[in-house]
């Protein structure tokens, strides 16, 4: 039986790449601090905005935590995307792709490892901010219950999808496009309805918003926090779109990997 023809993964090889990243984190405390720094700063900022609006806006007063929950969930998407693309960039900075892919490591095993590391980075980044919001603003995002787990998962996976497309761009065009890793996701922010309903957007832009899983999640989150109801239709839309995008982005990454082998790009992974 030909192993390459199957979709089997070697968890020993996947764990090797995860271990490589754990070593990197262990040896560099600034990397760990950086992971938690921005989500915490964002949470503190939006917590203060919430406190102000709670007395000046009927809408925010209905559910005091809606902006804090929004910023924390947005960071799940942002961090999970960075968790994939920045870790891939580390291999490119290290000019290590040649060694990696001359070993028995399969591209899909690298992808699996990137996704696992992304979960880890997202938890390190967002969990301290979520916990800190409890004493600072007497708001616990965990009160959302099971829907939170569902929204977290959808955003995490959508972040993976974006991250894999960025990895494909890095592989194809080199580190010259690294700014994409940081900037591209912000293009989705205005149309994701993070802090306001999708209905606020101009009518022509609303179909774009509904094509994004993130819009379904943030609308669903507001339904839970403001109206006290869970909307399974919004969640189903988010899950379906995310799975579609994830499948597509994995295919794009693996196809780009083959292009990189055809063009000899695995040995030219520097700037």
């Amino acid at each position: 039986m030909r192993a390459a023809g199957s979709l089997a993964l070697s968890w020993l090889r996947v764990s090797a790449i995860v271990l490589r990243y754990l070593y990197l984190l262990r040896g560099s405390w600034p990397r760990i601090v950086e992971l938690a720094y921005w989500p915490t700063v964002q949470m503190v900022l939006w917590g203060l905005v919430t406190k102000f609006f709670a007395t000046h806006s009927d809408w925010v007063a209905q559910a005091a935590g809606v902006l804090i929950a929004a910023v924390l969930l947005w960071d799940v998407l942002f961090r999970s995307q960075l968790g994939v693309s920045v870790v891939f960039m580390e291999e490119m900075y290290a000019r290590n792709l040649g060694h990696l892919f001359a070993s028995p490591l399969r591209p899909r095993e690298l992808v699996a490892a990137l996704l696992l590391v992304s979960v880890l980075r997202t938890m390190i980044g967002v969990l301290p901010a979520a916990l800190l919001a409890i004493p600072l603003y007497r708001y616990s995002i965990f009160d959302m219950g099971l829907p939170l787990l569902a929204y977290f998962t959808v955003l995490l996976m959508f972040g993976w999808a974006i991250g894999l497309v960025i990895c494909a761009a890095l592989l194809r065009y080199g580190l010259g496009v690294e700014s994409l890793a940081w900037a591209s996701i912000f293009a989705l922010a205005p149309v994701s309805g993070i802090y306001y309903p999708v209905a606020t957007l101009p009518e022509w832009l609303q179909p774009v918003a509904w094509a994004l899983p993130s819009s379904h999640v943030f609308e669903g989150m507001r339904a839970v926090l403001i109206e006290g109801r869970f909307d399974p239709g919004l969640l189903a839309g988010g899950v379906g779109l995310t799975l579609g995008y994830l499948g597509l982005s994995a295919a794009v990454f693996l196809r780009t990997f083959n292009v990189a082998r055809e063009r000899g790009l695995l040995l030219q992974s520097g700037e």
Partner: protein, 250 residues
């Protein structure tokens, strides 16, 4: 008679209009130490990259240990390894961490003993807990060599294995590679610009120019065929004059 280690047939690589490798055929016997020589841009690196599965050929066939590399490189890659001064390891990790990661990638679960032995053999045991970035060029060369031997490969591809090493360390590495080969029966394919090294170590030489193989043989055969005194002179004659000395001899 055993199968050859490597059989390459009609190998070509084009990058757009540029032809890097232009119809190369060669066979390397198991247990041989073969040098792939040529001036910069001759096509050596691309050939080695294709043998490692890092670059897809435009045409041709590569068989390693009887397996078709292009159809299923993952059956062959665990039996091979390589080192190159031009492909780095992660700088922020220690030598031990780097080698532990690669041991796992090659399926070695208990890497401790292997690391200790290689550390002693290649004189890197004092470097194991240092960050890779803090090493000198020569130390890095020895570490990447340790990485190349981690899985006790049957085929080792070595890109300038003694580059950056002082004569003492270069000699130690050559002796170690010879001992490793005698112990394991491994096949070594190396590129080098050190012709003295080639004469001392290699049993077979393939010379490339402009993407093609222009000559091959043992170092002694080549020196005799060109009517020159050393491999260095043979190399220079081919690189500068396309092998005029042989034509005059012949």
């Amino acid at each position: 008679m055993t199968d050859p280690a490597i059989v390459v047939t009609g190998l070509r690589k084009h990058y757009g209009r540029i032809t890097a490798v232009d119809g190369v055929d060669f066979t390397i016997d198991r247990g041989a130490t073969c040098a792939l020589l040529g001036a910069n841009g001759a096509g050596k690196t691309t050939t080695v990259a294709m043998l490692l599965g890092l670059v897809t050929p435009t045409a041709g066939r590569i068989s390693i240990f009887g397996e078709d590399l292009l159809a299923d490189r993952y059956r062959v890659l665990p039996r091979m390894n390589f080192s190159s001064p031009y492909v780095d390891l992660p700088q922020s990790l220690t030598v031990r961490e780097n080698l532990t990661v690669y041991a796992r990638l090659y399926g070695i679960r208990a890497a401790g003993d292997r690391l200790r032995r290689l550390g002693a053999d290649l004189d890197i045991d004092g470097l194991l807990d240092r960050k890779y970035r803090s090493l000198s060029a020569g130390q890095k060369t020895r570490v990447t060599l340790a990485k190349a031997l981690l899985n006790e490969p049957e085929l080792v591809l070595l890109d300038e294995p003694t580059a950056s090493l002082d004569p003492d360390n270069a000699d130690r590495v050559r002796s170690y590679l010879r001992a490793y080969q005698q112990r394991s029966g491994a096949t070594l394919l190396m590129t080098s610009h050190n012709m003295t090294e080639i004469e001392r170590v290699c049993t077979q030489v393939i010379i490339m120019r402009a993407g093609r193989i222009v000559d091959r043989g043992t170092p002694a055969e080549l020196v005799t065929r060109y009517g020159l005194a050393t491999m260095e002179e043979v190399f220079l004659d081919i690189a500068r004059n396309g092998g005029d000395a042989m034509r005059e001899c012949g």
